[in-house]
């Protein structure tokens, strides 16, 4: 902390918030310049979790990067796996059997439930209701993680998808348990919303705080629930229609104000839509193989070319850009991290607000540092 002299504003205070601060969701750091309690400048500082994921992936085979994608956004390993598989399938021209497509939708939507329930729990933590709402959310998350563990062997680092399909076929008992969990999930949401959505402190601290304009958000590359909270109808599940999403009947919730409250409501409403998708998927799941017989996992050598595969991750557009030079390793491997790019507007949203608001705004943007720093 040091005093910064400025002849117009008097003394400004520069505070380094993080990287070891509980409200920065990991090792994120903001250098905040304060005029009293008001933020006049905010510079995010990255790189505390940087391990050059892209370089490591370029020096190993296509399959070897799959478990490493789990570690990007470590709350959403299933979605990360799928995004990478999608890019490799585009690069190699592979197809995916029907059952695997359904399983991918099931895993991605369960991941969305995990991520969004965690996010709203953490958001309440940032608002000051320390830990009780978070533990309600974690209780539900843990049930889903138990399912992931029984299927893939790991709670969070699932390493489940493969290019050309999925790794394990769930037995009927797993599907029955998952289906029962999904049917019960709206009860958790109702309970949660009854306690928290209409809460006065919650409304006072989030409505009108950190509003984002639609044009501003598009230009800054904001994606996912943060973008849709501004009213822009852009959900890759509808726009790109990847996987089997066109077969499912669901709606895309849109906000009107783009403020912290809308960003919170987007998550709640998306969870309700995810439940609908999951119920349809469990009903319609076909029998059949889960791997493309032509897919060659070990020693996979795609033809010379490049591909950009992207999907609607729980945090926004997660993309993988791959260039093949015909060898077993990708020549270029790039992750388009939604967590990092969604922070582009952080300074604009926080200017003129207090530190306490900045914490809530950051919480509503939803970042995971494993993906921000890579």
């Amino acid at each position: 902390m040091r005093a910064v002299h400025d002849e117009f504003h008097g003394d400004l205070l520069e505070v380094s918030m993080g990287p070891q601060h509980p409200s920065t969701h990991g090792v994120f750091r903001m250098v905040v310049t304060l005029d009293g309690e008001q933020i006049v400048k905010l510079k995010p500082v990255f790189g505390y979790l940087h391990r050059n994921h892209e370089k490591i992936a370029e020096s190993t085979s296509y399959l070897s990067s799959m478990p490493y994608t789990d570690r990007l956004d470590y709350l959403c390993s299933m979605s990360n796996n799928w995004a990478y598989a999608l890019a490799v399938e585009k690069l190699g021209g592979l197809t995916v059997p029907d059952r695997a497509q359904y399983l991918r939708v099931i895993m991605a939507e369960l991941t969305r439930l995990v991520n969004h329930s965690c996010l709203v729990g953490f958001l309440f933590n940032d608002l000051g209701t320390s830990f009780t709402p978070l533990l309600y959310a974690f209780r539900e998350r843990e049930k889903i993680l138990d399912l992931f563990e029984s299927l893939s062997g790991s709670r969070m680092m699932c390493n489940y998808q493969r290019f050309g399909g999925c790794r394990v076929d769930p037995p009927p008992a797993w599907l029955a348990a998952a289906s029962a969990l999904v049917d019960n999930f709206p009860r958790f949401l109702d309970e949660y919303e009854t306690m928290l959505t209409g809460n006065e402190i919650m409304l006072a601290r989030t409505q009108g705080i950190g509003p984002m304009g639609a044009a501003q958000a598009i230009n800054a590359g904001i994606t996912g629930p943060c973008l849709r909270a501004t009213g822009v109808d852009y959900d890759l599940r509808k726009v790109d229609a990847y996987g089997f999403y066109p077969r499912f009947n669901f709606r895309v919730p849109l906000g009107a104000h783009g403020d912290t409250y809308d960003r919170y409501m987007m998550r709640i409403l998306e969870m309700r839509e995810s439940v609908k998708i999951l119920q349809q998927a469990f009903r319609e799941l076909p029998a059949g193989p889960i791997m493309d017989p032509k897919a060659k996992l070990r020693g996979f050598r795609p033809k010379v070319g490049e591909a950009y595969g992207r999907l609607e991750g729980p945090k926004g557009e997660l993309g993988f850009y791959l260039i093949s030079d015909g060898s077993t390793n990708p020549w270029r491997y790039r992750v388009r991290p939604p967590s990092l790019i969604n922070l582009t507007l952080l300074e604009e949203l926080c200017l003129g607000r207090t530190i306490a608001d900045a914490v809530v705004i950051l919480g509503s943007i939803d970042i995971v540092l494993g993906e921000v720093d890579r």
Binding site: A220, E306, Y308, E317, S324, W331
Partner: protein, 244 residues
Amino acid sequence: MIVPASPDPAKPDLSTPPVAENSLASALPPFSPSAILPRLLARFPAATIELVPNPGPAAEHSLLLDAAHAREIATFLRDDDMLRLDYCSNATGIDWPEKEIVDTVKKSVPDPAGGPDKVVEEKTKRIQPGYLETVYHLYSMARKHGPVILRLRTENRNDRIFLPSLTPVWKSCDFQEREIFDLYGIVFLGHPDLRRLLMWDGFKDHPMRRDYVAPDDFEWEPTPHGSVLDRAKGHYPKTEGLNS
């Protein structure tokens, strides 16, 4: 753009054009590069724009822009009513180091002994200069189409490493161009705040370059506590012989 398909960066190999002729351009979707290219050339006659084919199954071809006109063209692509490429999804760098290419030419040489001509293979080596490249994936949220892929190339990998920043056109390039500057060393002219993003400020090299070698002691960092550690070594009397 892949090196084997295009031996010379100045003249991409277009011997197998991947897309239809101009007569079919109206049937193509408005965002396909072969539909955009003639419009751009008509609008910016001074610019050199090339189509870079993607030989893979994805077949998403890209447009190679010259650095001098890149920002004008990007602004046009963003504001044009038919394209409305309002969203730059991904911006990234690629390193193409210099490469030795062997050209083989067959020549028939007359036999000095008077026999039939001999066919001799003559091999000439040439160095294809290396360059750094940036790639931008553009989409339209208004029209819900894309991608349009733009590429920019530096003159070499050593001192002519300047490219125009597209952050004034799309703010989403802000952090991504900083990352490219950090990891590849491309200097973006006109970027509002060009600093390292992931590596620390005192770091010298660019780790995503293909020829980067990580030092053995990369975890060593000088600390202000060196004198404390030195003094600590002498804190206890020497214990030689006690544990041996």
